[in-house]
Amino acid sequence: MELLNHLALGFSTALSMQNLLYAFIGCLLGTLIGVLPGLGPVATMSMLLPATFTLQPTAALIMLAGIYYGAQYGGSTTAILVKLPGESSSVVTVLDGHEMARRGRAGIALTTAAVGSFFAGTVGTLVIAAFALPLASVALSFGPPEYFALMVVGLIGSIVLASGSVLKAIAMVVLGLSLGLVGTDTQSGVERFTFDTEELVDGLNFVAVTMGVFGLAEIIANLEKHGSVGSEITRVSTLFPTREDWRRMWPAILRGTGIGTVLGIFPGGGPVISSLTSYLVERRVSKNPEEFGKGAIEGVAGPESANNAAAQISFIPMLTLGIPSNIVMAMMAGAMMMHSIQPGPQVMTRNPELFWGLIASMWIGNVMLLVLNLPLVGIWVRFLTIPYRFLYPAIIVFCCIGVYSVNNTVFDIFQAAFWGVVGYGFLKLKLEPAPMLLGLILGPMMEENFRRALVLSRGDFGIFVSTPVACTFLVLAAILLVVLASPALRKKREVAFREEDPA
């Protein structure tokens, strides 16, 4: 009953003309910058932050939040259409989404992403409204051994997830882990593999690496095959999913939403880990695993729902504890501080209209995004008919802007160029970059927690099996390893991927 009262307060705040307008502006801007490859929500929000000075704090936060989840929606559009993940959390959407587009099903893929995101967003909003506090306490109970075990599961999972040769997948994960070593070691402060370059002190720029190995490498490969590019993906049959598509996508959306909701409360890469986990799960439960990597609709529906649910849930630590779990949340907290609102548990009691208004506006924003995006699908799909010779220079320019805007440094553009060439090499060698990227994200977190756990236990390795949660994760990791090594699965994989890889 109390919840209903709160939601009523929230909706009455969020439905005021002014707040609706700002929610709409935020969602529109977010979708647009999400569609432009590389230009992320962080750059946009920092440009708009001064403008929010003069707004009511509630309106300001509603607009900023709109940009954030609008970008999550838009990010999948580029992943599907031009094989360029707009956000790191759309990395797996590329695998099947772009394949669907190549088979003339771009419209269906985009609709699936929009519907899945909407459903996940709705559930995410409800979960925040009802369970924000208990969920926050779960996140608090995770210590270094639990995080370490979770990362182990993630890494082994990424090998299971990779298509093609297991050996190559392991090689790519290890490569990613090694690349994750670049930068300052947290416990000792020693700079590793930085070659006296200040720009490498914080490690490789993840966005630059992603843009390089996915975006730029793809462009190089496309330019190689004269003329034929574009023509194979312009056969756009229908924009709307068939009955069969709906039947296949719903369970995936439900599972994805559940995964995103559970994993989203953990700081550091919630949406990324969620979407990858969802992909892994979808492929495992699917009756036709051989379709994955070749345009399976579940491979879009699951991860897109998962990353959106996680993105929504990542508001919980910021709203209830005052802990921003990523840069976007740090900017939201900054906007609150400028209006002299202390982010933290007191927000709920001292500024209830702000807290509940923001939550209600999340759902309203999701409705707006659905309404905004479904008609746009038809327009986005036309992008595919733009001759490639016009499209690719534009993609490169936006990639450069996006990469530059992360740290405002030209060095990162050179990084992206370098990784573009490396990524082209990967394509030639049929090496999948996704496991490497996971290694690059999870590696530093895993190492940090491993070292931290050992410092806490003064060197006793027993700490890794000292709690039930950590044990459960490690057992899960062991099971995954066994599954990976089992001859039956290896055979199934070989059959599944043989057609794809005739060479």
Partner: protein
């Protein structure tokens, strides 16, 4: 052809003339275009917020827009290097912090700037004292209790990174007989709070603002503050000086800086503008809300302040043998 040559020549003469007359004229006209303000950190967070709060006012005083540019990376050293290399014409200024100016010179043999000669500090925007806290479920009630506990077993101190102010504060505390192993959390306050609550950590230093948030919602108990006087937000919490450890006084700071070589009249106007903003009632009350203190010092006084702190940190870093390379 001849005509063109004459044109070019006269153009050259004109521009030479303009160059010759440049110094006094520029200082008088300054600022006639937007000023860049380099924040050596990412957008969002306290460094961004405090810059925006000040520059909104400074921009009104000078009658010119101030554009923020974020140059994050290497704990502020990348942005600081950029500021040091900028053309000293008064159109590029930025933020400087305790880390880059007073701590890093003692740790890194090679820095992209010279902490002594590359900058002129225009004014102090705010200083952040620290507070020592324990989790609320801990039996420790005072610094003396913590000392007693540390004699019974090895303590764990949470810090936001090696040789940062959180860590150095813990090292200072070691001198008073409270010894602990520093555990570094890249994610800072939030990650540390989780570890404090689930019992992994025994105590930590953080800014008074951050610690007070967690004390108010019943997670932390603050034992002492490192400020010279008691903080108005925490009237019941003693300073370390009151507890007999006057050597544990420290604060990190947020200052406005310009590259050295900016003409003196421009420095004077910038310093005056930041001083005026620092005294404005909005800033004073906002600083208090954020549990920040401030001192009003002139650029030469600030240079001395920074040299003194750098020397102090050198002693601590050498004594405790803290190394990063």
């Amino acid at each position: 052809m001849k005509k063109l040559l004459v044109c070019l020549l006269s153009l050259g003469v004109c521009s030479l003339g303009a160059l010759a007359g440049v110094t006094p004229a520029v200082a008088q006209q300054w600022p006639n275009r937007p000023i860049r303000f380099i924040v050596p950190w990412g957008a969002g967070g306290i460094t961004d917020t405090i810059s925006r709060m000040y520059n909104e006012r400074v921009s009104a005083i000078l009658g010119q827009t101030i554009v923020h540019e974020y140059r994050p990376g290497a704990a502020g050293r990348i942005g600081m290097g950029e500021l040091g290399r900028a053309t000293p014409d008064g159109y590029t200024i930025g933020m400087a912090n305790a880390g880059q100016l007073t701590i890093h010179p003692n740790l890194y043999a090679r820095l992209p700037y010279d902490a002594d000669t590359s900058f002129v500090i225009l004014g102090m925007m705010g200083m952040s004292p620290m507070a020592l806290a324990v989790p609320v479920q801990s039996p420790v009630r005072s610094v003396a209790d913590l000392r007693a506990l540390s004699q019974r077993r090895s303590l764990n101190f949470g810090t936001a990174g090696i040789a940062g102010p959180h860590h150095l504060a813990a090292e200072l505390l070691r001198k008073t007989g409270v010894a602990g192993v520093p555990i570094h959390y890249r994610g800072g306050g939030g990650e540390i709070m989780a570890a404090m609550l689930n019992g992994a950590l025994d105590a930590n230093f953080d800014t008074v603002y951050q610690q007070n948030i967690f004390q108010q919602d019943g997670r932390y108990r603050i034992l002492a503050v490192t400020s010279r006087e008691r903080m108005p937000q925490l009237p019941d919490v003693p300073t370390f000086a009151e507890l007999g450890n006057p050597e544990i006084n420290l604060e990190t700071f947020y200052a406005a800086a310009a590259p050295s070589g900016v003409p003196a009249p421009i420095i004077a106007r910038l310093a005056a503008a930041y001083a005026e903003a620092a005294r404005s009632p909005e800033i004073v009350s906002w600083l208090q809300e954020m549990a920040l203190t401030n001192v009003h010092l002139t650029p030469p006084e600030l240079a001395t302040y920074i040299r003194d702190w750098r020397e102090r940190w050198r002693l601590v870093i050498e004594e405790q043998n803290i190394r990063v390379q």
